[in-house]
Symmetry: D2
Subunit: 343 residues, 4 copies
């Protein structure tokens, strides 16, 4: 089958998911929605993506511009098998009724509450739970990254306890109005919600998280401390992660010693939008101190959930039965790599 996919919201996540859908042989893009006739709408037209208004109210405004508008969100739903809701955080809840009314399958993003959908989703950890479901929620960029490294470690070595500090970017690169410019803002929810969010995917994991926001735009970083029930060594962890999907080991000794250096690799690889769909983990950070391990990883907040959204479509539509298979197709079509470079 060819699955018909509509994207509601054509911003940071939506435009990336739209491109990724286009790259799949088993999917076709039915359209994307916008509220304003701005550069994003022009880009949709230039890319020949059918353009719809995000609400009925926005239809007039969009239609009065010189851009060709195909209808509103309800029209898009009518011609789609699945809608991927890429609207701003909090709007998913408002849109849910529209999807329900028309019995279309729906995929939400991690900014929505976990009870918005039948399941929460991560390709590596729980693809199968969403098979045939009406809706799922792809967990946030941070939780997705945690799933990718912690799920394999947990499966193999049985995590006893995880403590993770998330150093979050203040704004995406093009969000000029957001700060901070010169300040560190701790999340005073202690432990933070990221732990429980991970437990929607890996229920038996014992994790506490803390978080701060800092003046950077390009990536988040996670400093992770963990204990294991099964004895192992840093090298075994490294070997495991080298074989884990969507995890890419990187090497401080080559001068890759910051988030900006990671982005530079993506640029040198001619990645679209310098996206890093994989979760980069510093080889040298995987260390043992006493009974506790350390692991540092970076998170490209704009793009790491994009392949998961594609897999989520296949799960809901039962186009593939296993995560492993879907991951392989998605990664092949989008160009994900096991390693960002060869040594």
């Amino acid at each position: 089958m060819i699955c018909k996919v509509g994207i509601n919201g054509f911003g940071t996540i939506g435009k990336r998911v739209a491109d990724a859908v286009q790259a799949q042989k088993d999917m076709v893009l039915t359209g994307v929605t916008k509220t304003k006739p701005d550069y994003g709408a022009v880009m949709a037209i230039n890319k020949n993506y059918p353009l719809f208004s995000a609400t009925q109210d926005h239809y007039e405004k969009l239609n009065n511009s010189d851009l060709e508008v195909q209808g509103d969100i309800n029209n898009l739903i009518d011609i789609s098998d699945v809608i991927i809701d890429c609207s701003p955080s909090g709007f998913g809840i408002k849109n849910k009724k529209k999807y329900k009314n028309k019995d279309v399958k729906a995929i939400y993003q991690g900014g929505e509450p976990s009870d918005i959908a039948d399941t929460s989703f991560n390709s590596t950890a729980n693809f199968e739970e969403s098979l045939g479901k009406d809706s799922t929620r792809v967990v946030s960029c941070n939780t997705t990254a945690l799933c990718r490294t912690l799920y394999p470690i947990h499966s193999q070595f049985n995590l006893k306890k995880v403590r993770a500090t998330m150093i979050r970017r203040g704004a995406d690169p093009n969000q000029d109005s957001r700060g901070p410019i010169d300040s560190i803002i701790p999340k005073m929810e202690v432990p933070s919600h990221h732990g429980p969010d991970l437990q929607t995917i890996i229920p038996d994991i014992d994790i506490d998280t803390t978080a701060v926001k800092v003046p950077t735009t390009i990536m988040h970083m996670h400093l992770i401390n963990f204990e294991l029930n099964k004895e192992t060594s840093p090298d075994q962890i490294i070997n495991l992660l080298e074989d884990s999907p969507r995890v890419a080991l990187i090497d401080d000794k080559l001068g890759i010693n910051s988030t900006s250096q990671i982005i530079e690799i993506a640029r040198d690889l001619y990645r679209p939008r310098n996206d890093i769909w994989e979760t980069p983990v510093w080889r040298e950070s995987i260390k043992k101190s006493g009974d506790e391990f350390y692991l540092f990883q970076a998170v490209h907040q704009e793009s790491d959930v994009v392949p998961e959204n594609i897999d989520a479509i296949r799960a809901l539509m039962e186009m593939e039965k296993s995560g492993e298979k879907s991951i392989k197709i998605t990664d092949g079509s989008m160009g994900l790599l096991d390693k960002l470079y060869e040594l």
Copy 2:
């Protein structure tokens, strides 16, 4: 007479003006207003500043906290001769009716439109125009700085044309939610409104301005180009500015080569809140190229209008008849300096 001064709004400008009022022998602070029982309200109490709610609606919320609240803005107006409106940009217009209703004199800030008040105000350039008026508007931090350097130059050497580029800070130091973090945002209004705003004070000045916003919190900077009708030399301009009120020459050759170095001086001077009420001008930037002059100045956006607000009180209340006299009193009481350091 002792003028009774109320401050409506106790944020960045309001808290500074309140302290400055307290430092005057001919004024007394009747109170300050807040909307929320946050740290700012606690500080008002700790400083023994009578606390009022900024609106009737906010009274309950504020009064239900543990803080002692004296009433709302109307009560504050009743016991004041002048209200200084230090509410966020755009609120002045809404508050105007309250002041009018109770016939209290009012001083607005530069974020409000120029027709909100009888006059626009700068101590150096047009103090006398506001004598006895019901209301005035202290022009913005940027316009205030332009007045201080350009008015003396215009008076003495007759400005033929001014072109000024303003490089503006994205947010104040404690405005964590505002950006940009890594971007330059040009003001696409060309020329920008800063020129016309200066003309509310110096009507016969021929000036065009342009502006960009950049990721810094501490100061604005102005790069000014100007032509004169009267022949003169850079040294004469320097001499003139050394004698001009609230202008402080600074020296690049001593390593004072950025806005952060200027703030460091304020810190080393033990200035309250590291405020720089004066307008610092780089001696080495005052250069002539062909028929045109250059001058670079920095602007401490949080504080440079504070002494002007004090002088504006004296003008409205006719407590002093000349700007020169009021400036002398204000500067003496607040500790403004002719030079930020001795060579």
Copy 3:
């Protein structure tokens, strides 16, 4: 003929020029040099770019790594018709002797003094001056951008006077050690050296420039004021620039209102490394006030000189006789656009 091109230095500029050389039908890359076996050297190997050490001294260090090294800079010179010196600012002078000794043609970058080479170079403005010369210097990213917009305007409408303010980025995206983080640093050389640098290309232009450095990594911005000897209108300037090589008009009204929004376009275009080889100019900034015009442009400091380096090879080697022809070949091979998007 197929010109054999060696690149001395494989950093920000060098790696881009290497890729651009590879994209030319009339050129072949003989190799690139490195000093350290870091990520950049690994990338050269991964791209099958022959790797040489930047000096004889560095040969051992590089050769002792696992990377295959072909020799040192002298070996690279021996197999090349032209060397493009992309070493850090100031090293070009040191390298000059090596090139002279072996009679290889050399292209230097804008960080070197203008007398390092026979000519200074810009494709639009003075390609023909470098025909058959032994060496040339591609002017800096800022001067290149000024050439592209001011040369056509000057040719057509005769510039009487230009005043340009450059708001410069503090560091490139991957230069983590460079600041400032929260400060504006004015260049106290008034007027700045950028004007005289432009005059090495357009000798009869009357220009004064000023510059500041700000905490951003992605692009420079120029706020340009100019007067013309020939009467014209903003629309005529816009029309002229629409037809000028390597100038791309952009539209504030579409929400493209900052340097980060421009980079977002490059990302959405899947540009390699999100490079913007063209000089983006805001349509809405081209305004007239009295007798003076305004124009705002942005400068992608990492990449705008790359196509000029390619053209410079053709000039030195007399592979093409006109700039127009070379520009057409270079732009076609690299994918430069007249417009970054269609309206």
Copy 4:
């Protein structure tokens, strides 16, 4: 006795220690050293601090300026009982010989290796160990802050394990040349050196630390996780820290939710240079999750070690026999507070 104190180095730390020495009744400042006749040297003269050159070599340069120079470092040593070495990191080792040669007591800063001096020093934790010693090293700003909160907790409740993440500022406010501007730089030494440094003061503490550098100038932040051997509650920890020296509880609920808000308090308190000598700890961050506690604190890297330097003088000179007594004198003279505000 009146102790004669010389300061070698008049930068960020040196100028603050000099002012603090001046504020003590039992100390007198014999002089400060500089290498260049810049603004800092001018400030020393303006403050009537005797000025010496930091080395014999720098004497000429400094003396040829208009500033009055009293001699070089050796002359300063001759008239001092103690030298506080506030030279840049790594220079202390070079200076050590000079102090040894002339048998003057010496205090080093935390950037030096721990074996440079007889002891490492923190007022709260181990004042008495340095009594009568020839030299000591005041540990770094980060380690000092850790001592202040962890030592009382350890003494009272017996720390079983501490895990601390330090989010460090990239540069001090006036260090314009240092970055990063838009990047997060992890310290790839895992665990980082901060743990062992704390153990020079509290040898029996089990602590692992990790660290990243981020684009901010104003404060570091520590996210601390700890386990205790003695059962207790968050409230008991809060009570303990309320009574601990140089720890100041702050309240997120009042809107004090970032490092910039803490600096704003210092500014509102009219603190010299907006210094925060105390270690601010968020009341709401002290939480228990399972068996583990959390605590978030901020560190004013420019000033928190200043009072410890003063106490270190008294320890070396045996002017007071107990840390408690010295702390009381220092805090009274400098104006440290138990609480930064009253609720």
